[in-house]
């Protein structure tokens, strides 16, 4: 079998070396960039030519992933997503599959520190990058401040979305140690929570950085209230 190209020539992998729309177009070569003007057949031909040397699979090929500081040598079909590789082949089930098409964020992992939907990247494309899953955050068994804040403020209900939110917020707090509530909301815009834990997630993120949020809770003993 042909040895797979280690696909990531760029040191550090994504985002600089990943398949973005731009790098995909670049990969097609200059002639294909002007493909809009060509007939459909022409485009297919150019694509085939440009990719001829890189064709992998459909059978399993060896690949090597750096996950939570360890190297995992795997034998996977090139079409296996990073999420499936993590969950099914490496046994890291912290990242969750929920929508499998980059809408909900339950599968969020960090790729070189940047949050990314693991369901929408191929495992083979993640080679060369440092992948961090939620299992990699607290290897000494202690919760990180944001994890502890989520527990204390009940920033979770069913918890299925929690690993994704934790990864998103971890990345936020690393690049912005004192975010406003608007920053937190913006960072979380790519993560969905069906139980509706958002207000407590915001509160937790702010509390983890020593701030307060706006959501209020009050328990009134009826006899103490003038109206009663």
């Amino acid at each position: 079998m042909k040895r797979p190209s280690t696909s990531r020539d760029t040191p550090g992998g994504l985002p600089s070396g990943g398949v973005t729309r731009r790098s995909f177009l670049k990969g097609l070569g200059a002639s294909a960039v002007s493909a809009a003007a060509l007939a459909a057949e022409g485009v297919a031909e150019e694509l085939a030519k440009a990719n001829a040397e890189k064709v992998q699979g459909p059978h399993p090929v060896p690949m090597s992933l750096r996950i939570n500081g360890e190297t995992h040598n795997l034998q996977l079909e090139p079409r296996v997503t990073l999420l499936e590789a993590l969950r099914t082949h490496v046994g890291l089930t912290g990242p969750k599959e929920s929508c499998d098409r980059a809408s909900c964020g339950a599968c969020t992992v960090l790729l070189n520190g940047v949050p990314l939907y693991a369901c929408s990247m191929l495992a083979i494309e993640a080679q060369g990058a440092e992948i961090t899953t939620i299992e990699g955050l607290n290897r000494n068994g202690e919760l990180t401040p944001i994890q502890q804040a989520l527990v204390d403020h009940d920033g979770l209900q069913c918890g299925y979305c929690s690993p994704g939110f934790v990864m998103t917020l971890t990345a936020l707090l690393r690049r912005n140690p004192r975010p406003t509530e608007a920053d937190v909301r913006a960072a979380c815009a790519g993560n969905l929570c069906r139980c509706g834990a958002y207000p407590r997630i915001f509160a937790a993120a702010l509390a983890a950085t020593g701030q307060k949020t706006t959501s209020k809770l009050e328990v009134i003993h009826l006899k103490e209230h003038a109206v009663a």
């Binding site: 969750k96 919760l143 994890q147 918890g159 299925y160 509706g196 809770l217 003993h221 109206v227």
Partner: protein, 674 residues
Amino acid sequence: MPWPSESKYLGKPTPRVEGPAKVSGRAKYTTDVAPAGVLYGAIFRSKWPAARIRAVNLEKVRTAPGIRAAVPAHEGEFSVHYYGEELAAVAGVSRQAVLDALPLIEVDATPLPFVVNELDAIKEDAPRVNPDRPNLGGGQVRETGNVDEAFAAAAATVEGTFNTQVEIHHPMEPHGNVVVFEGDEMTAWSSTQGVFGVRDQFARELGLPQNKVRVICEHMGGGFGSKFNAGAEGILCAKLAQAAKAPVKLVLTRFEQALAVGNRPSSFQKIRLAADRDGKLTAFALDSFGTAGFGSGSSSAGGSGGAGFPAPYIYVPPNRRVKQAGVAVNAGSARPMRAPGHPIASFGMEGILDDLAVKLGMDPLEIRLKNDPYDIRLREYAIGAEKFGWKQKYRKPGASAGPLKVGVGCAGAAWMSGGDGTQAELQVNPDGTVEVRCGTQDLGTGSRTVVAVVAAEMLGLEPKMISVRIGDTRLPPSGASGGSRTTASVAPAIYDACENTLAELKKISGIEDPRGPRWPEVCAKLGRNPLVVSGRWREGLSRGGAGGVQFAEVEVDTDTGFVKVRKMLVVQDCGTVVNRLTCESQVHGGVIMGIGFALYEQRVMDARTGVVLNPNLETYKLPGAADMPEIEVILLDMPERGVIGVGEPVTVRPAAAAGRVSPRPTSTCRPTGG
């Protein structure tokens, strides 16, 4: 002995006990369970919205590379009634092997005419979804008093049409099972709201004795009413495991979630409402229909997952006529969804009430105070109005100039809740630690923590001394988690078990009060054998009947149609608050799901092809971080009422409250059905 009035844990904020496991990714959900050699299972579904299926040929798929089993959904000829209905299921060594093999399934089918939208389905010449009956069920009429006379004599009458759309549950963890057979015993990890109900269903459908089937649900990623049963997907998973003689995991995709595992029925409500000069309601008439999927077609009362709903909701005008019908369409069946019937009922009734207030020139709050029969809600309105600043914020419709309209609304709700039936068991170990066992399940509501809080309170122990075991049919039985009944069912059983345990320990040790500083000494007297004591739900510790009110402040840009909820204020009665923290989270969750129902969520069907057009989470809009208003929660603590569930009553009102904007009483942000 009632709930203690002075408490250490009860009613205080206790972080959920499984929180650390959930935020660190250690919590194992059904989708995470992977027994050695587990196969990947998937369902092959109908691509026809309606068809007669003569044969499903699985020969080719069975011999495809990596495929270990294929089973049909039905034997012999059958009909399918919606796009996505189950035809067969396949298990293989990998997802890729299964996805490659599915197209090898051959189906001999005769496509039939179909109709997927309610307004098309009620037409005379519409294709019949069920050949034996018309799509629109007759609809029974229930009448109290003399409605026609009351309308004729009324000082003010309003009428309106209120449509609510089909909503989909979309829990973050999809429906799924992992099934393993060992000898004649079956174990299923199920993402379910009721382990015992699922066990019984597996036993029945597979012809197994109930004591040979074990169902486990350690953690589950939400259900909202859609996960009471094993479902076709669960039964097919078990059949695949039997056929393959290997463990099978079958978890639905997000796409399948939109087609085949339930939804909230739609409604088309024509409402007339009348009042006397003082705004006291005198007459109500409702003529409604909605769809609960292909099986719909007869009237059914609210609360069951049918298309019916309680009307005139929480109000009792003396003269009322209610006609409700169901209409069948070629779409997946409804299932109960958080407060079945109530958000629909609330939306229509509170909406028409606002219209009536406008007609009478009354404040919408005033008309509610005048007509709400429930004293606790009246108190809640008073508290809420003051906190919300209703008097300052309310403006008559049309009062604000310019395209940006800001309005406020308020509405009330009820839920029967209550509890029963749960049993529990306590094991006290000689080292003083305690294990509490109860076969309930935690959907994310915090029921595991409720167990810990009650046991800690009753035994005078720190929660860390207590291990809670739930979510397994090997534990003492508890009912399904639905109807906001879990806390009210479970808490009294734990209370009872604790009381029995203390009595037993007193007998063994001769110490009057085993709690507190003498606990270690008492437990040491157990010798080598732990003490196991059971308890069961009993009267007097929990109640039904929760009432609550909500206020909403909503902004509508009438140029762009953009709607933003600025603030929601909730005043909720939930009897004895067991855990303030998770109780508050339940309220948040209900409010947010209600906002989603009022403003964002809608299943869209394509009339031409019969498919669901938005079977994913980018085109089916769930409320997101950016949509969150400020939410203020006021819990009324009334320990004398006992424990009352809260998950559903809070889902009811925002649908009404957020959907109404006082400057525009026939608001554009009212969701429509098509």
